[in-house]
Symmetry: C2
Subunit: 391 residues, 2 copies
Amino acid sequence: MKNAPHNQESARKLTLLGSTGSIGKNCLDVVRQHRDLFSVRYLSAHQNADLLIKQAMEFRPHGVIITDPQFFENTRKELSGICRVYAGMEEMLAILEDPETDLVVNALVGGAGVMPTFTALRYGRDVALANKESLVVAGRLIMDLVKQKECLLLPIDSEHSAIWQCLQGEDRETVKRIILTASGGPFRDWPKEKLTEVTPEQALAHPNWNMGQKISIDSATLMNKGLEVIEAYWLYNLPVDQIDIVIHPQSIIHSLVEFRDGSLKAQLGHPDMRIPIQYALTFPGRLDLNIKNFSLEDIGELNFEKPEVNKFPCLKIAIEAIREGGTRTAVLNAANETAVRKFLNGEIKFTDIARLIDKTLQAHNPLQEYRLDEILEIHDWAQQYSHKISL
Amino acid sequence: MKNAPHNQESARKLTLLGSTGSIGKNCLDVVRQHRDLFSVRYLSAHQNADLLIKQAMEFRPHGVIITDPQFFENTRKELSGICRVYAGMEEMLAILEDPETDLVVNALVGGAGVMPTFTALRYGRDVALANKESLVVAGRLIMDLVKQKECLLLPIDSEHSAIWQCLQGEDRETVKRIILTASGGPFRDWPKEKLTEVTPEQALAHPNWNMGQKISIDSATLMNKGLEVIEAYWLYNLPVDQIDIVIHPQSIIHSLVEFRDGSLKAQLGHPDMRIPIQYALTFPGRLDLNIKNFSLEDIGELNFEKPEVNKFPCLKIAIEAIREGGTRTAVLNAANETAVRKFLNGEIKFTDIARLIDKTLQAHNPLQEYRLDEILEIHDWAQQYSHKISL
């Protein structure tokens, strides 16, 4: 750990990639509650220039990046005299070299987050990672960099933050397995046959978490849990057989670790992303956070059941992909992104998402070892291939 | 911590007080599974000479103590050539000076465990404490000694072990509150009026834990949870208002800690005392233990509700005693021991337990500060007083 979050004279400087999304907004709410401890160095958004401008006005960063260049001119005009304005992905990657940044928070959506994670680590920056695709696409390369650069890679996903918290003060060698909890999504109780009729609106209505579109659909197909298994595989260096999943509809227990003595630790709390976000920002310490009171007696009941792999084939496909390893999980991710987009556009059915991913994986000639350029090329190929194929 | 449990050349030597009780037998089962890591220095029992002899044959301690002298001669004869045999409480206290002992496990029942805890600490021994009465009777004196002698006081109670485990790797300053779980005992669902009819047999049948008689009755009255609040008050140095109780009938979550950021950690597992016992023996590490597989999906459901303080007045009396502090909790403990014995003997009704304790507390002139001799004298007084009074 190079940047101790406490015992420092000045506020900790954050560069927040994807500040206008769900995680980005929650992250800024955490900063808002601790203005003396955190300051914003850079903010980035893709197309939501209006909100980015508003955020820059409030948090007064050193600079902002709008990655879609068509919004550059207007953003620059609006923020004239406030902060620097950059445009495009290349400039985003360039600002990650900034030595004034203490922590990069990567809250980008999808495969677009891979290069920023890789670049930030290459520059020796600690990274708080909400972009699970970074590890799904290029897990081995990223974990190699974390080790080589002695950086911290702090999970922001609620499940991985839960495990991270449960592992504090424990010897990793004593871990028997980790158990990721899954809400089961909005179709947990639906009969399998009915899933062909699912509409995007139904799939976007997550029972517990208020999240972005992509992750909401991934939660509905259980692909999100599959991606989390892959993420956990890399973050915690555990074989797939030591990563289990349990359906827990209330999303109160965020995940668990079982130790070799039969003792388990769980992290729990309201499903509020500000908790894992703030933990990544304050690790290994904790700060106050204005969360509503937690009461197990008010919650009353926590339920658990086995995931129905046959009803949700995406989960099985993801687990097989990481079990076989290599470039397969990058293809899985790219095909899933295409499939989710097509489903949201009304081009394919909900049940076609798994079929489209499966077909793309079948067409892929996997490599076990890969370089960054190779994996990005394979990701591009899979995006294009999955876009074109007919089911 | 003076005695590191790992990285040592020879086995860790345990002195186990109360080896023939429920905790004692479980502790020896843990030792049995790790004969290369643990050895037994002394064993003690009160009257169960047969089992003590059998245990000595198996574990070959340096010596055994039988505290009831009428069993001395026979024990000495049976163990001739096997190990030394001592009799009585004074000899038990004397062997605690033994510098060869690495850890004293105090599994004695009731107020009889106070002096051994105190004495072991005074000799600078680390203590694993199953005898919660030590802290209930003389919490301040014991915690002062722990600090002064820089000893470890490791909790064996499942709830306090749970909290101890959840606090590893965390800054104590970030704790908002702890939450002790309680099964609610066998009469959780009984109407209040029916409690006058409770028989000892009914009260001894605990739904989840297989325990000794005293603690089973304490669980049925919820006094056990009251004693645990007092124990937690001392062990974790928290005001009473930061110690909450939630009824959790399945006894799977053994307790929880809530932190200032709204995040909670829980420790869970099968209700098997070997887990907290072994944790105290291996702390801060963990070893394998032959516990049956744990599966949240098989358990299916965890429930939580508010404790019914009006139905179980012992809980309220205990919390008031520690809130007001001083010598009151010693009186509470002594009166409770008398009341439980009288109930088991058929002398008083189940609902008289609280009444007898309350009456004894009313007759007590409390001191806020006390020395060891004073608190033991008060404990004796309360035993005698509670024995004599009529309800």
